[in-house]
């Protein structure tokens, strides 16, 4: 006679009896990957000691683009909110940074969170309006908002209007920690500013990745996935789809604004056309996500490194470079729609930052009552 208390007979029963089955997300590999990631981050923090200023500037580009790509991936991939107007928040962040430092004389380090808050506030205000647009029309609607922001900033004469302005040295000379970094690394103040921006970019990129990872693994992440798959079905089981999407939208705008401020602290020159550029802040970002893999955290890391390489070899060709990027993205979507990492992960089953829930037996062989 079968033993009804056998754990393998029913996972639910077993769960009630003390968990011979359990839901897991992490694997041995993912724990190893987390360990390696910590080492890589430690190395990156220490890098300015040995790296050239050129490399630091390149890495600022890589880290800020990575953060933007992860944010877009969270918004569009996991959240189903496909926006092509995130340049709105990059530009707003940049303009708030300039306004706070040039006009109000604030420390740039204080201006950066304010830039994020302002971007988040604008997103919170415009969100309800944009959410009235269905799926693909939301995409173009967000683009219109970005254009409105660009045109309004171009009218703002104190920050140079349509032609823009440069960040005067005086505005960043009082940055907290600048002198310390200068004496620590024995470099000039311009290079020290790059190092500070680099650390900020590194911090923000990591914070974005960790936040998204925790979010996707949480109950909220499950709710998001359900919302994306079917709004009606997710509502019927009590998920407040609208509220979750709205929260994600505002959060992503906040972080995008911060990244925008960081980028323009390093560039130190702003113009409406550059700060709200759809090519720089959306086309590249989409390329990174498409190449690496939508809905993966590892994908954009690979994508941004590839973009960096392509930029290095092809950027001198200007239009041809962008033409090639566009064509690569189309071919990828047609033949490798899950991206390089997504396809690799699917074939090999390897996930470094796993987000899927797996049902596993906690104990390989559930203990049977041995006969007396």
């Amino acid at each position: 006679m079968p033993d009804v208390s056998d754990a393998s007979a029913s996972p639910r029963l077993a769960a009630m009896q003390g968990g011979a089955w359990q839901v897991t997300i992490g694997t041995r590999l993912s724990r190893a990957a987390a360990g390696i990631a910590v080492l890589v981050v430690a190395g990156l923090i220490a890098l300015p000691v040995v790296a050239s200023r050129g490399l630091i500037q390149d890495l600022i580009f890589v880290l800020t683009m990575l953060a933007l790509a992860q944010l877009w991936n969270a918004l569009a991939g996991w959240g189903g909110l496909i926006a092509v107007g995130q340049q709105a928040f990059v530009g707003l962040g940049a303009y708030v940074l300039f306004a706070c430092t040039v006009l109000a004389g604030l420390d740039p380090l204080l201006a950066i969170p304010l830039a994020g808050l302002f971007a988040g506030l604008i997103a919170a205000a415009i969100g309800p309006l944009l959410f009235r647009l269905e799926g693909p029309y939301f995409a173009i609607g967000s683009w219109v908002v970005a254009e409105v922001c660009r045109l309004l900033c171009a009218q703002f004469k104190p920050l140079g209007g349509g032609t823009g302005m440069s960040l005067p040295n005086a505005a960043t000379s009082n940055t907290a920690g600048l002198k310390w970094v200068q004496s620590l690394l024995d470099i000039r103040s311009a290079a020290a500013r790059d190092v500070i921006v680099y650390w900020l970019a590194l911090f923000v990129a990591i914070a974005v990745i960790v936040t998204i990872y925790l979010l996707v693994r949480s109950r909220l992440g499950l709710a998001l996935a359900a919302t994306r798959d079917s709004i009606a079905a997710s509502r019927s089981i009590g998920i407040r789809a609208g509220r979750i999407r709205y929260g994600l939208w505002v959060l992503c705008a906040f972080a995008t604004g911060i990244v925008g401020a960081i980028v323009y602290l390093q560039k130190a020159r702003i113009s409406p056309d550059a700060a709200f550029s759809v090519t720089d802040w959306t086309a590249y970002v989409l390329f990174i996500v498409v190449i690496g893999g939508v809905r993966t955290l590892e994908g954009p890391i690979i994508g941004v490194l590839l973009l960096w390489a392509l930029q290095y070899y092809l950027a001198q060709y200007g239009s041809l470079y962008l033409l090639v990027l566009g064509l690569i993205a189309i071919v990828m979507m047609l033949f490798v729609p899950r991206g390089l990492w997504g396809t690799f992960s699917e074939r090999s089953g390897i996930q470094l930052f796993p987000v899927r829930r797996l049902i596993k037996r906690a104990i390989e062989d559930p203990p049977r009552r041995s006969p007396p």
Binding site: A76, G77, I82, V84, L129, R132, L133, G135, P136, Y137, A139, I140, G141, W143, V144, V145, E147, V148, L151, L152, A154, Q155, G162, V278, T279, A283, L286, V290, V294, S319, L320, L322, L323, L325, G326, L327, A329, I330, M333, L334, P337
Partner: protein, 288 residues
């Protein structure tokens, strides 16, 4: 009088915007797809007509006709060979592909033609005008753009509601699976829809090219105007799209009257205002 003139110019400009919008509206209506490269296809068509008239020495009507045929074929092939592969419940892949196309077309045009502004040569036609009232002149070119827009909508309405092709469009739009059971190959229906959309875009391109300068970078802005006309007018209604184009055009000319730098901004703000007050547009189709 100056005010009337401004509004009249806006109405005429609206005809061009309605022409931009028709192709976008058509594809969305039939297959729920938004072509992010729509504006760039309009610019591409303008450059094709330009090349046919300047390099091959064809007359403007002949060049336009040839480009219409070429763009229809392009759209048909684009749908069958590219978009059809990614069409499904997930709207992300087709959006990303059309965005990639947008970048590729823009930069391809930039490589081929350079960044200079161009204009289509329509001879004396572009400068001629008729006097409606004392001191109130209407340019012949803008007026014909509006007339062509109305004609194009009439033709599309007849195609949609009086022909078997239109029945196939509507059936596939409602439910592709059931349409297929009725013997309609939805892949061909979609391909014809995209082809038709690009063919209409050629008309829009000629209207644009006679009236104003164009260069490879202006595509995305045309996409936004087209989109705004569609949303202001209300989804699913072609006459609504014309009205949307007119509202957008009038908003832009009124904005430009106050300050030339505010022209585009005024149009965008009018769009946001309509979205705020009437989220379904001014003249939504009766069908939900």
């Amino acid at each position: 009088m100056e005010m009337i003139d401004t509004i009249l110019q806006g109405v005429l400009l609206g005809g061009v915007y309605a022409l931009f919008a028709l192709g976008l509206s058509l594809i969305f209506g039939v297959m729920r797809l938004v072509n992010l490269a729509h504006g760039d296809f309009i610019v591409l068509a303008a450059f094709m007509v330009l090349t046919a008239t300047t390099s091959a020495g064809l007359s403007l009507p002949v060049a336009t006709l040839l480009t219409v045929v070429a763009m229809f074929a392009t759209g048909f092939a684009l749908q069958r060979l590219v978009l059809q592969r990614v069409l499904g419940d997930d709207i992300l892949p087709p959006l990303l592909i059309t965005f990639g196309l947008s970048i590729a077309i823009q930069n391809g045009l930039l490589l081929t033609f350079g960044a200079d502004s161009r204009r289509l040569d329509a001879g004396s036609f572009e400068t001629r005008s008729i006097e409606v009232l004392q001191g109130l002149n209407i340019g012949l070119a803008p007026l014909s753009a509006l007339i062509v827009a109305v004609a194009a909508i009439l033709v599309l309405q007849i195609v949609f509601y009086r022909t078997s092709l239109g029945r196939a469009f509507r059936a596939t739009s409602d439910n592709p699976q059931i349409a297929q059971l009725m013997g309609i190959d939805h892949r061909n229906v979609y391909a014809v829809a995209v082809g038709l959309s690009l063919a209409v875009s050629v008309i829009a391109a000629v209207a644009l090219g006679i009236r104003a300068n164009f260069d490879p970078a202006i595509g995305p802005a045309r996409l936004l105007y087209a989109f705004e006309a569609v949303i202001i007018g209300g989804l699913g209604s072609l006459w609504g799209t014309l009205a949307g184009g007119v509202v957008l055009g009038v908003a832009q000319t009124l904005g430009a009257r106050v300050n030339p730098e505010w022209q585009i901004l005024a149009g965008h703000l009018a769009f946001l205002l309509v979205l705020f007050l009437r989220p379904r547009g001014l003249f939504p189709a009766r069908r939900p």
